[in-house]
Amino acid sequence: MAGTSAGEPKSKRPSNTAFKQQRLRAWQPLLTPKSVLPTFFIIGIIFAPIGGWLLWASDRVNELRIDYTNCDRLGTAFVTLDSNDYEYHLHGINSNSITKPKQRYDSEERVCTISFNLPKDLEPDVFLYYRLTNFYQNHRRYTKSFDVDQLKGKTRSASDLNNGDCSPLDSHSENGGPKKPYYPCGLIANSIFNDTIRQPVLTNPSGNQNTVTYKMSETGIAWTADKKRVNPTGYKPSDVFPPPNWREKYPNGYPDPIPDLGKDEHFLVWMRTAGLPTFRKLYMKNTQDTMASGFYQIDIVMNYDTRSFGGTKSIVISTTSFIGGRNPVLGIAFIVVGGLCVLLGCIFAIRHFYRPRRLGDHTYLSWNQQVASGLADNSAASATARNAQPASGTQGLLRQRP
């Protein structure tokens, strides 16, 4: 075409770069026996021992759990628990040989006493958890039921909190008086676990003392980040109500000044909601002293009612390993994956050595076979295609598709 007055017209030819012409340098992996079989075996050989190691580590974790939901139905005499209500996983100890734990209840003090046998020493760190079942901290309305600003220390008024995340426990008016906000508002704070678990007491120590208390601390049990989320509040005690379930603890409202909830690590631990309806939360820990073997007693003040929602509560005493608490599933899963891979590798290897398929073999291309047979009919052919019989293993599956 003739040029325009502007000179040479721009060529419309697309640029000949590798990107635009789809010629990029690339790696084209193919799953051939040479790469797949070693992969399976290597994965098997790596995963199975890891699984074994994890299983061993989990096995070394010592854990015991004692359910005390129905302790307040007992009398002042010790009653042996039946086997549903406790669980022992102590490394190297046969669970059947351990003395069964006992419970009794003092209805005046509302204290449940659990007496249990610890057959072996527990090395630090030793942790004591409370475990609840059938408690849905992961319910959608529950999970969002708190106010970030209020916990940070801001004085939010009742109208601020109105129809916010905290409802229905956002504010309250008593006897027709003014509406005052709950502090802390929301369902999570209200439902806090309020049993008091006292320190374990060794009732048969060696040496000359009658009892030895295994001191466990109730600090350092919450996330560092959680401690920063809750600051002392700016409210005056007369500005707020404690949540309904806290009335028993604060029957005349809050003392002056209102306690700093950021220092109450039980509160922080509770606010970090669990993901499943059966969960544990850390209550206290000891990172220095060994928990000596012997018979222990733990007193628990029973404030928390789990029977009303069909749940249970237990205490769990546990040590940890580098993977956390006792969980054999991790190790077993690795072993299963390793075993599965080795099994698949073996099956494929046997098949491959017994009846291999040649890679890239033209005779498998069905149209080649058709042409070959067609030419043979014409009887004018020289045998250019290879033998039209496919090598064993493909059994005419290719030939059916032209």
Partner: protein
Amino acid sequence: MRDISEDEYRKWSAMHAKASTTLTNRQQELDRVAELIERDMTLLGATAIEDKLQDGVPQTIYTLAQAGIKIWVLTGDRQETAINIGYSCKLIQEDFSLIICNETTHWETKEFLQKKLDAIREGHGSNIDFDSLALIIDGRSLDFALEKDIEVLFLELATLCKAVICCRVSPLQKALVVKLVKRRRKAILLAIGDGANDVSMIQAAHVGVGISGQEGLQAARSADFAIAQFRYLRKLLLVHGAWSYHRLSKMILYSFYKNITLYITQFWYALFNVFSGQTVYESWSITFYTVFFTALPPFAIGVFDQFLNARSLDRYPEMYKMGQRGVFFNVKAFWGWAINAFYHSVILFFLGTVMIFNDIESDGLIGGHWVYGVTIYTAVLTTVLLKAALITNMWTKWTVVAIPGSLALWFIFLPIYALIAPKLRTSTEYDGIVSHIYPNVKFWLAIIMLPVLCMTRDYGYKFLKRMYFTQPYHIVQEIQKFNIPDYRPRMERFKKAVHKVRLLQRLRRTRGYAFSQNEGGQEKIIRAYDTTVQKPSGY
């Protein structure tokens, strides 16, 4: 030429005037008078018009036929020309039986088509080779054949034949033929043409291709695809068509898979939170799953993936048939991927949950809901990206950015988001989570183990399919990768030899008023002069 004297002309002119005004047999009288003057002439020379076939047309048509594409020619040329062009471009071979329909009335056309159809059907048992039937029909008969009561008949006969040539076809008839096939058959139609008379046909078909060039840009402007030469159709269909089909199938199936995997884990979680609707993952993470973290792999697959490279697709036109049969994208494939996604979600969620279960970390502290959520989320993301890696045939550097890059993006995003989001009050869930995720051994163990477990089945099954339930494209992929030489050249040479023998046999038959291009033969004579160049002045 002949010089005529004034005298002779006057005499003849009188006869001519009388003949042109006669009332009976005027045409014959005129002819007779013309005969009187047209004699004793001197031959001055001969002119010839060549309508050259474009380069590569025969090879292209032959290749497309190999690829399982049926080719019909609709041309405005006359019958002999069209038939010769058919031979030239290897549309019909010398040994084809031609069914030539030149009927002039409605009923004759119907009878003819019916008779031929019955003959073929009866002869079906005995050696009628459907691979060598061709139907030639001219414009007049086509008019009748397109009428309501004959069109089914015509179409049945036409689809039985290997090739159909319609000659003397008007632009309207071209479009009508296309619409007829579209309406009554489930096939996909492609119409290709280069002139303004092809525009209606191009627009009537499913895919219209216009050739831009000699006859102007009309066809190219009205087409879905415009190419410069007919032979580029080969690359357009065999290479780009196959790539497009494969890429789209994979991309769509993968997109469904990745979303099903994530969201069904949410559903399993609902079994544990009394169906209250609480998500196990933090809400913005879920949003960014589709937007950032799994957006690039389908993109990379859809743009860059090549299941066979251009050279292999070109060499093995039969690969095109996979697209025709819907091998990569069909109902079975879709449900296979959906069930695979379910299976993965079950493993990821349930095994993941049991692995995290008692929530205790190595320092005795409790992980909580969001550590659990992030662990499962990362495991899902890793699995889904591993699946993308498994289905990718071709790893370019962009694919590396897309697939491992997406996972790296998540690991970088998480601490930044956990730092910023609580400050901005968009979501407080990730507050403080980083120090409980990255140093957490259980987290890393979970995201190594869960994807490997999920992928074991996928990997093993893919290997099994390739080795022991082999499809032709697997073989071609191996040929391509290992550069295995093709033994077929000997086949090609043999076929060429056969073709030449048959050519010689054919030359003995009468051809009609047109030459057709052959390999070798008359080409040298025809091309002795370059007619595109101005003749030099003088002699």
